[in-house]
Amino acid sequence: MEELISFFIENKEFIYVIILSIFLGVEVISNVPAILHTPLMSGANAIHGVVIIGAIIVMGHASPDNILAIGLGFVAVVLGTLNVVGGFVVTNRMLEMFKKKK
């Protein structure tokens, strides 16, 4: 119990950020028309590619003789980049289709 309390106190800013972000996410998305569901999902998919930052940190601070960290980190950075680049490009392609009509 004590550990839980100290965990809460130590991380209270983050806990605030999490709660507020949850409400923000809900608020930002409501009222989206059905036709945009797919592009929106795809765009959100690209945004969670921010995990790549974690992968970069893992790799950047791994000592050169830590093969496991370097190897896995390399894979993680490749996968994260795929998520980010692929996600944004696919979303852009979908939305391009909507653009050119009038």
Partner: protein, 463 residues
């Protein structure tokens, strides 16, 4: 100073994600929103590479490897995203989502193995991140395989039961790992990885193909949560906000999709879909469908006043959107009023049909949503159903025993004539029989959608 630049960049990144998502939910600003979020992402990534320092004040090392990995990922991701056909879009999203999940899982593994710690918060976050990331990865791969037709449905209630037990087991394992870390020791991370991957596979396996968009959206928000847990691990604000935003927005999006199909989320995940379709064919006696020739179909349409086209996944599979647009234009030239009736979940994802038809330059005002179209149907002379099935199945309104009962449908049986283009008498994605095909006013036009529409166009030209 470098820390200041890093934090400012993260702030900019977080703001761009929020604004980007906001703009993505309005048709006029959607494209800019996507680009804005991409720019914010680029800033956050570059700032991390050049300005991030660990507690000892060391900058990011192994730069060559990092840039090499980013280079490989960018090249492959760009190529995949540009090459994929519009019809295969949902699979692609699922695949990219899986990549993100795997990335999150790997981070947790490396963090755990290279920083031994007994801190409860650290352990809980690392294990949860590993579990959610792995489930998201293997689940997304199965969803990808299913949508791509590589993996078949495997419906079994025993699997669902087993899944719930497995989930409880995984959570118990995490509990042990967090509160008495020495009991299992380091191997726990690999055990957790394996069982989570298995859970992800079994979680998606029994879910029917028609519910796949909902599952992808759900897994998408899982990956968001996994990314946010990574942010907790590194005290990294932009990972935290970005991840949580996607987690909550993705959850709401999942709920909205379920509403569009009138299916409670819980029954998508825990209930079974399909199977009880025997009631669909009821009414007794031998049921015969009536077919129509291409020529007759062309004449019927050419002399109609009002024609509505109901596109479905069959149109997408046959890549028939361009031919369909030609057909609609020919009819228009003959003075027929043609509209498209788009069901919210036509295709494999909400909005999928709109994207496809937009690709073929169909003017926007011709695309009508279900609520607009249904009141017009009684005064519509001909409805042409192109490769759609479940979204026009009257059983959704009349047969309480049908698995899709309660789903809003396009009421094509109210129109004066119905022409159904199908490849065969096969059932729809939900695997249930469709009584529409046996109605008196329904005529079947068998064949590949693109082929048949092409023939219709040349018939119309000769008239």
């Amino acid at each position: 100073m470098s820390n200041f630049i890093l934090e400012i960049s993260y702030l900019l990144g977080s703001i761009s994600f929020i604004l980007g998502l906001k703009m993505l939910s309005h048709p006029e600003t959607a494209r800019k929103g996507n680009l804005l979020a991409a720019a914010g992402m680029a800033i956050a990534i570059l700032a991390t590479i050049f300005f991030h320092e660990n507690e000892a004040g060391e900058p990011i090392g192994n730069l060559i490897w990092i840039f090499a990995a980013i280079g490989v990922g960018t090249f492959a991701g760009y190529l995949m995203a540009m090459k994929v056909k519009m019809t295969a879009m949902p699979q692609m999203v699922s695949l990219f989502n899986g990549m993100g999940g795997a990335c999150a899982a790997i981070i947790s593994i490396v963090e755990y193995t290279s920083h031994p710690s007994h801190d409860i918060g650290f352990l809980a976050i690392a294990f949860l991140g590993l579990m959610i990331g792995s489930v998201s990865f293997s689940g997304s791969m199965v969803a990808y395989g299913k949508l791509d037709g590589k993996i078949n449905d495997w419906r079994s209630n025993a699997v669902r039961m087993f899944n719930n037990v497995l989930l409880a087991g995984i959570l118990a394992l995490i509990g042990v790992g967090v509160f008495s870390p020495d009991m299992i020791g380091e191997p726990i991370v690999w055990i957790l990885l394996v069982v989570s991957l298995i859970y992800g596979i079994l979680f998606v396996m029994p879910i029917g193909g028609a519910d796949m968009p909902v599952v992808i959206s759900l897994l998408n928000s899982f990956t968001g949560v996994a990314a946010a847990l990574g942010g907790f691990l590194y005290d990294n604000a932009v990972m935290l906000t970005g991840g949580i935003l996607v987690g909550s927005a993705g959850t709401i999006l999942t709920v909205l999709m379920c509403q569009a199909m009138n299916r409670p989320l819980l029954s998508v995940i825990f209930g079974s879909f399909g199977g009880g379709g025997a009631a669909g064919t009821g009414e007794g006696g031998e049921q015969v469908v009536k077919t129509i020739s291409v020529t007759d179909a062309a004449i019927l349409c050419a002399y109609a006043k009002r024609v509505a086209i109901v596109p479905g996944y069959g149109l997408a599979v046959a890549q028939a959107q361009h031919t369909c647009h030609d057909f609609e234009r020919m009819l228009g030239e003959k003075g027929v009023e043609v509209t498209y009736a788009i069901h919210p979940v036509a295709g494999r994802m909400p909005g999928h049909m709109n994207v496809l038809l937009a690709e073929a330059d169909v003017p926007y005002p011709k695309l009508l949503e279900m609520e607009e179209v249904n009141p017009q149907l009684p005064s519509t002379d001909v409805v042409i159903v192109v490769g759609a099935n479940d979204v026009v199945n009257p059983a959704a309104e009349t047969d309480p025993s049908s698995p899709i009962y309660g789903m809003p449908i396009i009421q094509v049986d109210k129109a004066k004539n119905v022409i159904v283009m199908k490849r065969s008498m096969g059932k729809g994605y939900a695997g249930i029989a469709n009584s529409l095909f046996f109605k008196d006013k329904t005529r079947m036009l068998f064949g590949d959608a693109k082929d048949t529409l092409g023939k219709l166009v040349s018939e119309l030209k000769q008239m």
